[in-house]
Subunit: 154 residues, 3 copies
């Protein structure tokens, strides 16, 4: 079994099917040795794990789990774009994390760690990435978190 | 006539003059086979097509048109950075779409489609890009939409 | 003395120590000739130069200074990631500037110029970058500004 798939197994993480291309944009684009993954929301088995702003509508710990789910969905897209072979990932380069935030909520880094730690667990040192985490007044489909990703691949 | 210029003609799209470099930042930078285009707002013939937050100050359909205009302005910059030759575009890689949003407005993907569909119409399959669309509390000059872009070029 | 270090001296800018890697994300990642720098907030000697939204909690001119400080911190990270040699910077490619904004505040470009002009002062033409500047409802640790950066390096 490929190394990263084995690691996902060990962690008990089952990647969902990657979302299908929708209309004029696509889940990922490969250019110049980099793969750009579209913003992922915390869909799990067809419904959103966390909706609305943090913390009034979604508690911080729920948002952390949601960020982790966004990261899992991003890995599903990444795997699909690599024809199933996550061992071709050389490095997770950057993640952008948008957290639907009440005015005055400033713990976006805590929420974003849900995504960051998933990358570290799965890829080890190759999962250590640059990051920008910011608050957003409102996100698509009322998601509490959105995560986009750039990876370097073989 | 170059292929993409002919396609723009066919679509009835006339690219404006690219904005001039302002102060310390520039409309585009070419690095490592990628062109990074600065955030574009929906200026058309010198005025903004849509201002304020969606939907209280700008209706969704106006915001969709504004996103399309941002994308047209981004193409004008891209063309200028390629010395007029849009046929050198190999792929639209990623667009980032910021939508000035009322709290609770969650249809940013609908608005962003205004930009995404323009890329598809102009470039066909090469126009299919990764995307992050998010809400923003307020945007430069009170624009309703801002679009930034990364393209891969020859 | 290396050229860019001499220039920093001339400008009276002393780079702080680069922040240490925290948990699962890192200050910078080098991939494909590009260095991606994580979002920087306006920390100066251990405290934030500007907190809260602009302009109700932080005046515009304070936010401009804070954006400059974010850029200085980004340079410190960049220098550290280049083993001390900023002369290896070929081009500042893109900066993303998030400004904690009151509803209706639309002068994000003015604030972002604090970061953009620093790049121009330090690197000259190589400091001219693409930029996206947007408003954010709230930022990490209640910072008024966050700046992320991509640079092309030798």
């Amino acid at each position: 079994m490929p190394r990263i798939d084995a690691r996902l197994d060990e962690l008990g993480i089952r990647l969902p099917d990657a979302p299908k291309p929708v209309a004029a944009y696509v889940p990922s684009v490969h250019a110049q040795g980099l793969i750009f993954i579209s913003g992922q929301i915390p869909l799990k088995e067809g419904s959103l794990m966390a909706t609305g702003t943090v913390p009034s509508e979604t508690a911080v710990d729920q948002a952390v789990s949601a960020a982790r789910q966004c990261a899992i969905n991003a890995l599903a897209v990444l795997k699909s774009s690599l024809e199933g072979d996550l061992d071709r990932v050389k490095r997770i380069v950057r993640i952008g994390v948008f957290v639907a935030s009440d005015p005055g909520f400033t713990d976006q880094p805590l929420v974003a760690n849900g995504a960051s730690e998933l990358m570290l667990e799965v890829f080890g040192d190759a999962g250590r990435h640059a990051r920008a985490a910011v608050g957003s007044v409102a996100l698509p489909l009322n998601a509490s978190v959105e995560v986009e990703l750039v990876a370097e691949v073989d």
